[in-house]
């Protein structure tokens, strides 16, 4: 984690605001690659929140890191904290950039499909693609024009309430051999795009997506940590990972959103139903592993190897 100063806060749309962080001494920050994200730590009263946000600034620009946060009033509170309480001048802790959504540089062409705030990882990729002189096509889909957070001259804008919705089959069917597809947006949009691409014959190695899940609330449940000899209660609005951390149990993590695999944990005993909510585990692993960053449990007893 590095401590940075929030130096600028600029609204981009009614719900999306851009935040700029710089080193307190003006020192350069490590450069990154397009599609990378950072974990932002927020001390929200008694609660320590950690949310992942895509970096939207130029990856080669070490003078600062910029993120864009969409306010989610039904969310757990991280985006509300950023919108309401984070103010320029504040010092905040950020993780180092991590990229789970990098460009495949062997691609002949890059097809980027963004839904709403899902435009953010592509904002880091566009300068990279421009520098490489790579062929790309950016489709920016929003429900209404006021959702548009950035004016992108190179993008094709699709506004569904103006009737210019993207013809997905048409776009997918027109791509030359060697095109890689990247999609970021809501879970429903990602699933729809990947399902159509697969049905049209796109192979999995040409398909890339990123969605950070927020740990959804649920009924409280107990989890027994065999190695630490502790039994914890995971609260309704807490993730199992957060409960482990609150109990002082060292658990690995990286994206905290079910995507990266870092927090994968062995299940030693399970009398009940694991509510898997991650994008990581394969179906044949789901009876013996759990991703504590997003997944929950219903039943009598869950014992994990922590």
């Amino acid at each position: 984690m590095i401590q940075l100063r929030l130096t600028d806060k600029t609204p981009l749309s009614p719900r999306i605001t851009r935040f700029r962080f710089q080193h307190p001494d003006g020192a350069p920050l490590p450069v990154f690659s397009g599609g990378a994200h950072v974990m932002v730590e927020m001390q929200d009263g008694d609660i320590l929140r950690r949310n992942a946000y895509s970096l939207i600034s130029d990856p080669q620009d070490g003078s600062g890191y910029e993120i864009a946060v969409q306010r989610e009033d039904q969310g757990r509170g991280g985006s509300r904290f950023m919108h309401e309480q984070a103010q320029p001048g504040m010092l905040m802790r950020l993780g180092q950039p991590v990229n789970l959504f990098g460009l495949n540089l062997t691609a002949r062409k890059h097809l980027l499909i963004a839904g709403g705030v899902g435009i953010t990882p592509f904002l880091g990729q566009i300068p990279e693609l421009d520098r490489l002189g790579a062929d790309y096509e950016l489709r920016y889909c929003v429900r209404s024009r006021d959702e548009v957070a950035v004016d992108l001259p190179g993008a094709q804008l699709h506004v569904s309430d103006e009737g210019s919705r993207m013809d997905l089959d048409g776009v997918l069917g027109a791509q030359p051999i060697g095109t890689h597809l990247y999609v970021c947006g809501s879970a429903r949009m990602i699933a729809a795009v990947l399902d159509r691409a697969t049905a049209l014959g796109w192979p999995p190695d040409a398909l890339h997506s990123e969605e950070f899940l927020a740990p959804a609330p649920g009924e409280p449940f107990d989890v027994h940590c065999a190695r630490s000899h502790k039994t914890l209660t995971v609260g309704a609005h807490q993730s199992m990972l957060e409960a482990l951390e609150a109990a002082g149990i060292d658990a690995p993590w990286l994206c905290r959103g079910g995507a990266c695999g870092q927090c994968e944990t062995d299940v030693l005993a399970c009398d009940g139903q694991i509510d898997h909510r991650d994008h990581w585990l394969h179906d044949d692993e789901r009876n013996r592993k759990i991703m504590p960053c997003v997944s929950r449990f219903r039943g009598q007893l869950l014992t994990i190897d922590r």
């Binding site: 691609a107 002949r108 997918l172 069917g173 027109a174 791509q175 030359p176 051999i177 060697g178 095109t179 890689h180 597809l181 697969t198 049905a199 049209l200 014959g201 796109w202 192979p203 999995p204 190695d205 040409a206």
Partner: protein, 179 residues
């Protein structure tokens, strides 16, 4: 001396399976046609939309680059390719497809026929088609070459390495390659 799949780069072959696609391309030699027929038997619809390139007496392997150029000229993502036949045909076709930008995940291959391999001499870079013994004699430089399982997807060939570099003249009796 060599065993299949002993290293990660060795090609993996599996029975051809139907897969959703916008366009289908099938490439086979005489031995491989049985695998293509079995595939189409599972999914006749696939057979109706497929372009089939048959490599054999009337269209020898050297015609493959030109034939693929034609087949790929209008191709779009959504193309799936099925390869069946000798290891040499599969290796050459796959290398050409990858060079055209097609992701590996869009290519399936099923080996039919003999254990013969397409080999590259790592010393003089000569490609030898249909190598059936280990070691074999390089048609380019005459070295006796050990048949490795190390496969270059880019070249579409297994690698042949001088077998008597440290003890010149000590060349084991050639053994027939087995599957």
């Amino acid at each position: 001396m060599t065993s299949a799949h002993s290293i990660a780069s060795s090609p993996r072959y599996a029975p051809l399976e139907p897969r959703a696609c916008s366009a289908a391309l099938m490439i086979a030699d005489d031995a491989g046609m049985a695998a293509i027929d079995a595939l189409i038997g599972q999914n006749p619809e696939l057979g109706r939309k497929a372009t089939i390139l048959r490599i054999g007496a009337t269209a020898p392997p050297d015609t493959l680059p030109a034939a693929l150029d034609g087949a790929l000229s209008q191709a779009r993502m959504g193309l799936q390719v099925w390869l069946a036949g000798s290891q040499g045909l599969i290796a050459r076709a796959q290398a050409l497809l990858l060079a055209a930008g097609l992701p590996k995940g869009a290519i399936q291959s099923e080996h039919r026929g003999t254990a013969a391999r397409r080999m590259q001499c790592v010393h003089c870079k000569t490609l030898a088609e249909g190598v059936t013994t280990d070691p074999y004699t390089c048609p380019g430089c005459g070295r006796a070459l050990f048949v490795r399982d190390h496969f270059s997807a880019r070249l579409g060939a297994f690698q042949g390495v001088c077998i008597d570099a440290e003890t010149p003249g000590d060349i084991p009796e050639p053994q027939e390659l087995r599957l």
